[in-house]
Symmetry: C2
Subunit: 308 residues, 2 copies
Amino acid sequence: MEHVSLAPLSRVAICGGTHGNEMTGVYIVREMQRKKVSAAGSFSVTPVLTNPRAVDVCRRYTDKDLNRCFTDALLSSPVTDSTPYELKRAQELNAQLGPKGGKEAVDLLVDLHNTTANMGLCLIFYSLDWLTLHLLKYIQNKISSVPVRAIQLDIPLSDAYSLEAVGKHGFAIEVGPQPHGVLRADIFNVAKKAVDLTLEFIQEFNAGRTFEGGEVEAFTLVKSIDYPRDSSGEITAAIHPELQDNDFKLLRPGDPLFLSFSGETLIHEGEELYPFFINECAYYEKKVAFQLARKTTYSFPSVSVEKD
Amino acid sequence: MEHVSLAPLSRVAICGGTHGNEMTGVYIVREMQRKKVSAAGSFSVTPVLTNPRAVDVCRRYTDKDLNRCFTDALLSSPVTDSTPYELKRAQELNAQLGPKGGKEAVDLLVDLHNTTANMGLCLIFYSLDWLTLHLLKYIQNKISSVPVRAIQLDIPLSDAYSLEAVGKHGFAIEVGPQPHGVLRADIFNVAKKAVDLTLEFIQEFNAGRTFEGGEVEAFTLVKSIDYPRDSSGEITAAIHPELQDNDFKLLRPGDPLFLSFSGETLIHEGEELYPFFINECAYYEKKVAFQLARKTTYSFPSVSVEKD
């Protein structure tokens, strides 16, 4: 592949508290605000606590999941007295950090999340462009304490519903396992390292370093699987102990999925796919017990910053 | 020690959902209700979902922590329009399963809880009487998949604030680590086994079996430790990675307690004690980072049921 030149990055936003009970991002952003971080060499850095009302009550959200409010339709919907708090907040954030898809948007938006699933460190992307593929590879090369993986959501930008879609480039950093409402030092440290490496990469990129081409794997979401339920909608089984904590371990036909409260095992019957977000707390209400992905390898060219 | 005869147990309550986001008890009680469990041989069994309003919204409580409402003072306080839901519910439960300290109370009340701390299976008691000491030993002897420990809260019965104080005998079963709002099959299975062993013990006891005397260890709560905070009350440090998940591992002077967000380690300076409830989610609002206990050995005599 031919070498590619890319525009320098001049404005970066580091966001946390989009879900108010995911504590890693809350405390990383607060610490950056306390230290008055506003620049890192060649570019500006804006730490943003994105859902302060949910942070105050330590819940995922107060009226509506903020991280489902960034579709083009919702961002352009009229605000009335009955508009949910989080939808108003999404429009404020889009004005501050976007507009989504617009020339004035921040160059890179990183949003910090936690999961109760045993997912290690995941970078979640709508679109894997040359810059974010390089950033992913850079972080993978420099973190060895936990697995570093990429998840791709194959959704058109207009329907992209989460905050990172507001930046010109963007991704979510998802780290687990950590109970919501709890702050673990090990999880904090690995997320903080991913943020620091992101800023380091941009600094080196802006300074003119050439990053060699290569390959990287990503997991593309195929579908979500609900818990088994009875006729009244009550859950009748838990994630099977052999599936629990085994995010990204290939699921083969016949592998156990659920263990019912009366002791029966339910097995996987479809194609071979990779499970993730296994037993994520916040997904019970979304009727998602886990998600399934296919693994893809991406090649990318060497890149460097455009010369003036 | 001389042999002791004790009254038979005729009424047992198995309670769950006292904290509405601690899922093990919710699902064990629901499964018992679905199977219409109401007796086990010589005694009645009543499964009770104790805080249905909190269960519905999957929160610890809606107005006030139900499991702090069972002091004599609160149970006898007048109910008005502004009485918190959980205090009204505590008085209802006291009428149904008590009254606390009264002759009509259930013989044994077991309340099912979860913690985000790595505590294995803990039985929590206000008073370790001959019956509960034997029950503890019985469960310890029959569960080997996780550590089984006892915690004693040295509080006069009148001030005892949690639901298990309503029974003639009572204890809480605390199982972790499990994120609140999440149901793990491994945690469900170990709690279910403890419930089943409790019922099995009572059945054997009522049938006339003699249980030999012996010894058992318990951890007695000494004090609670808060997180380090700045002048505005914000937490400035997380539980240190060397303390995290090490519940019941003896803490010595010089051992690390906290890791501040700027990277400094804070150490333990007091006497040697055992930490537990390390990084329990629900205790952030109670300003408790962990609790400290002293270990005591209890001797108990052989027991059997009183002959008519």
